[in-house]
Symmetry: C2
Subunit: 337 residues, 2 copies
């Protein structure tokens, strides 16, 4: 009997499997563009010297590999999809940091902070096009590229909505969820199904895996929004209450404003004043919690995780991969929260 791998093992194995393909993909870039990409990915410092990579956990690439295995193919079939997804994800991070004027990510200066805004925009554009180029070389790459195009378009729509929220007087919970579905859900849905697409799996399998990833993404975003307010600064790398300091309309904030509670009305007045000082942030955090929005958001995260796990049961798939997908989902949310 083949033992089920633990989630950390799954993540490590995916990194080992996708890493060389990712490096080959980046070798298609000019040296300047490659240097920025390698810096962003944590492979090198700003001067181009190799570092022991920290990077992200690589959840998306692991989902892509497992989705190929779920469709009874070898994990390697999912590699071009994993690379393409990681490239799109990282292009969006590089652009997001410019858009949000964020100067640090994963405890390091962001690409624009090191290389300038112009080069950061162009570096993001290069990763964006490279994602498609990688898929064009793969068998069934066109079908995968079509899925990636739809997911990327949804992600970009979500980013646009997110930016517009900052200047809008009111955002309701539905609008906020739709934004999250685009910004985070679509690409995770694509990550969790692109390997199956490359493996030529039936539509029902692809659809079930996509729904799994989409709802995992929504759960992930809800947890991320909780961390943006109540997260430990040492672990998030951002000051406590950071999202409230920036008056971001994240899920807990929107839920608090829509709660009808007196504290919600007080919160609206407080946020209307713009950027908050330390005392203002502390007060805003207390108001969000008093509205019950912290509990509500945590329950939403749990409910999306349940929906995600339910989607996996809709079709018959490789039971080993099924189990590892479920474990990975739980692990990622656990680690986040």
């Amino acid at each position: 009997m083949i033992p089920i791998r633990t989630a950390p093992d799954v993540l490590t194995r995916a990194r080992d499997c996708v890493g060389p393909a990712m490096r080959s993909a980046l070798d298609r870039l000019t040296p300047d563009l490659r240097r920025m990409a390698a810096y962003h990915l944590g492979w090198s410092d700003a001067e181009g010297h190799t570092m022991s990579a920290s990077g992200g956990k690589g959840v998306r690439q692991a989902l892509a590999i497992l989705s190929a295995e779920a469709a009874w193919a070898d994990g390697s079939v999912g590699v071009p999809g994993a690379v393409a997804i990681e490239l799109i994800h990282n292009f969006s991070l590089v652009h997001d940091d410019v858009i949000d004027e964020d100067e640090t990510r994963r405890h390091r200066p962001t690409v624009w902070a090191v290389y300038g805004i112009g080069q950061a925009i162009v570096a993001g554009d290069a990763l964006h096009t490279l994602a498609y180029q990688v898929l064009f070389d793969a068998e069934r790459g066109v079908e995968a590229a079509r899925c990636l195009g739809d997911a990327t378009a949804a992600m970009i729509s979500g980013q646009s909505a997110d930016i517009s929220f900052e200047t809008r007087a009111s955002v309701n919970v539905d609008q906020c969820m739709a934004m999250c579905a685009g910004k985070t859900g679509a690409l995770l849905g694509c990550a969790a199904s692109i390997g199956a697409v490359l493996a030529g799996a039936p539509d029902a399998t692809v659809g079930a895996l996509r729904d799994f990833g989409m709802h995992l993404g929504l759960a992930f975003q809800a947890v991320d929004d909780l961390l943006g307010i109540w997260g430990d600064p040492d672990r998030t790398g951002k000051p406590a209450g950071n999202d409230l300091r920036q008056c971001k309309k994240t899920l807990p904030v929107v839920a608090a404003l829509a709660s009808g509670a007196d504290e919600g009305i007080e919160l609206r007045e407080l946020l209307r004043g713009g950027q908050l000082d330390d005392a203002g942030v502390d007060h805003a955090v207390a108001l969000v919690e008093a509205c019950g929005a912290r509990t509500w958001t945590a329950e939403r995260a749990k409910s999306h995780l349940d929906t995600a796990l339910g989607a996996l049961n809709r079709v018959r798939m490789n039971p080993l991969a099924h189990r590892e997908l479920a474990d990975l989902a739980a692990f990622v949310l656990e680690r986040e929260s």
Copy 2:
């Protein structure tokens, strides 16, 4: 006998033919993203009210249509390629305006100047992905998307080199030409061949058309660089000598610096000081001309046009389209200079 259409007729017909497909493509965007795209294209004002479109001349879309006809297909076969090329071209313009901090384009405020930097970056990203999505729906769209990916990657590399030139002490003529080949040549090469790719033309035909477009692009860039210094502000929409004011290392400037003339050495000293005032710009313009770099650049433009026209003679293609491609090349450069 079918009469050969004049170049303005060719441009008008291409606009009529591609316009509806372009509108259908943009309808896939969310209202916010569509509004920015329509504004950028000159279809509407900042509030979204329809305008009598000014937009660009539409050279790229006309090339795409003619390249299908050159391969003995109906011009309509080139339409998805024309739309995709225009989307990529316009994504790069929207991002370029952010990168260069340009506040006006075609006598109107740029997208970022109206909607903010964040939304402009995201709007460009949306057009970028939409270009691929349009091709995925077309017959032989994958082959076309592969060509588009290579051309877009080259364009982005050229943009990255262009940005790095601004802070580099010296740039030689070869480096400058390589940058132009990427930034302008690659996408025009793709425009002039993508219709033939969609028509299933042989590699030799596609290659000849691509070389035609590439060298047309280099001629175009040389003329554009001349206009950036000696152009009529009423026609270019930019102040006289604008590129020198911004100390851009365009072809005439790089050629002047590399000329070995005393005026070239004086120019280097002048540009080293950074941003120039009006008198400084006038003096710099005179120095570039005294080095013979204006004449040299004009000769380069002519020589690239000759190479472009020569490429069309390499293979047998529809003689009507051949003639119209040649006329369009001459017309575009004539109008520019």
